[in-house]
Amino acid sequence: MQFSEDKQGSVVIVGLQGRMDSNTARTVEEKMLGLIERGEHRLLVDCAELDYISSAGLRVFLATAKRLTQTKGKLVLATLNDDVKQVFDLTGISSIFQISPSREDALTQYQQEA
């Protein structure tokens, strides 16, 4: 599981690469919560290279989103591949998140707010 980090304006773009399962989810959770501790509260997760997500991975996104509501922040997920999107849909969890088809579209979600 690879984890990249980039910043555009006030938005931190996190790129996830590989399989997010019970073995790797904890590392991602620590990184995401670490970003929030650091004071970042606009997170965009680019899932273009996320090959697989298990329930443990979904839990990390839920925990991140929950933490961000406490800090009045915002989480947007972008470019989910079909398999990953299906997991979000089957679990009904896609209704909880803002999911964007592209990174650019996701970035506009923050601009509208600002």
Binding site: S55, A56, L58, R59, L62, A63, L90, T91, G92, S95
Partner: protein
């Protein structure tokens, strides 16, 4: 801090006086505590009787058993004590032998007491660290042991006596879970609501480990107690969900499917909270995943209203319920077993006894996965309706 306990081994009786003199302050203030032996044999006897010794300071040339032989014996004691050897200046050969036998450090005669003080503190520090590590290691082993017990307890709360209701002839039922390496969160459950209604639950808690196991135990109890009030599957999931959300601080969630099979009419009413839909296997060989209204997983959205779906089971038809450990089993090329492969597999098995169906699917999944370690529990439950 307890005193550092040092055993001084030397055949010269003067050394004892000298040590007591030089370290009198530290002895008085209980920083250091000395014991003395005059050869290897009596030193060894002292160590056996006093396993809490931290440090041995030993001469090399002594009668009866010399310092080098003593070192060898100390290694056999399996204690954490560290040995510092004292040798004549320039006696490099003995010093090398001592170091190779596990001596922690060496000093040369005549003893420089400032250097000895430093050496004692440095060595004692090391012994302290080792004792700490050993303690932590023992604690870890104890935790591992408790985890093993937790896993056994968790498995034991799943019903495992089949047939479960020997007097009831309207259905056959079998269920099995093959746990992944860690204590996890899959479970199945079944219970008679009354004489003609059978409740079936299959569920999967997000993530692994002790938090998942605890969440699983709570969810199972909640679902069962709400279900036993006789409410519809949708109402049951909604109520259990509300109770779970209240106590869910860590964003755990459960995917669950709950259905009620009416044994008199064959009607199966079910509701789905983000779980894999069940598969209907008919005697004619058709196999299909049931359409379910995709409700959200339990534990996240307090106000969610779960819908129920209905289906009429014909005699001989089977309901195959499973968790994603089956369809997401991976082989060594990281390919998933997948839902289409499951359907093909069920098609080739046909509608036979629940136990045979589960055995055959399990065989196929395990053959597919080979030696690749599986991240998830493999859980299946099959009910076959007879009328």
């Amino acid at each position: 801090m307890p005193p550092v306990k040092i055993l001084v081994v030397d055949d010269e009786p003067d050394l004892e006086l000298l040590v007591r003199q030089k370290f009198r302050r530290q002895i008085r203030e209980k920083e250091l505590e000395f014991a003395f032996a005059h050869n290897g044999v009596s030193a060894l006897a002292h160590l056996q009787a006093n396993p809490e010794m931290d440090l041995v300071l030993t001469d090399i040339n002594m009668p009866v058993m010399d310092g080098l032989a003593l070192l060898g014996k100390i290694n056999e004691l399996n204690s954490l004590v560290k040995t510092v050897v004292v040798s004549a200046y320039g006696d490099m050969q003995n010093i090398r032998t001592a170091m190779n036998r596990g001596a922690y450090d060496f000093l040369t005669k005549p003893i420089d007491f400032d250097d000895l003080t430093l050496t004692i503190h440095k060595t004692a520090q090391r012994v302290l660290e080792l004792r700490q590590l050993t303690r932590e290691h023992e604690q870890l082993a104890a935790i591992q042991q408790e985890l093993n017990v937790a896993t056994r307890i968790q498995r034991a709360i799943l019903p495992s006596a089949f047939p479960p209701f020997p007097g009831v002839k309207e259905f056959d039922l079998y269920a099995e879970m093959i746990p992944a390496r860690e204590v996890g969160g899959d479970f199945y459950d079944f219970f008679l609501l009354d004489e003609e209604r059978l409740g079936l639950v299959i569920a999967d808690v997000s993530d692994k480990g002790v938090p998942a196991a605890l969440f699983m135990a709570v969810t199972r109890t909640l679902l069962k107690s709400v279900a036993l009030t006789g409410v519809s599957p949708g109402a049951c999931l909604a109520r259990a969900n509300r109770l779970l959300v209240e106590e869910n601080t860590s964003c755990m969630f459960v995917t669950a499917l709950y259905g009620i099979l009416n044994l008199r009419t064959g009607e199966f009413e079910y509701s789905n909270a983000g779980h894999n839909p069940p598969v209907l296997v008919s005697p004619s060989g058709t196999v299909q995943h049931l359409k379910t209204k995709a409700g959200i997983v339990l534990g996240i959205n307090e106000h969610y209203e779960y819908q129920s779906d209905r289906l009429e089971l014909k005699p001989g038809e089977c309901l195959f319920l499973y968790t994603d450990g089956i369809t997401e089993a991976v082989n060594n090329r990281l390919e998933l077993f997948s839902a289409p492969r499951l359907e093909r597999c069920l098609q080739s098995i046909g509608s036979t006894s629940p136990r045979q169906i589960i055995r055959a699917v399990m065989d196929e999944v395990q053959q597919f996965a080979g030696d690749e370690p599986q991240a998830d529990d493999l859980t299946m439950m099959v009910a076959r309706y007879h009328s």
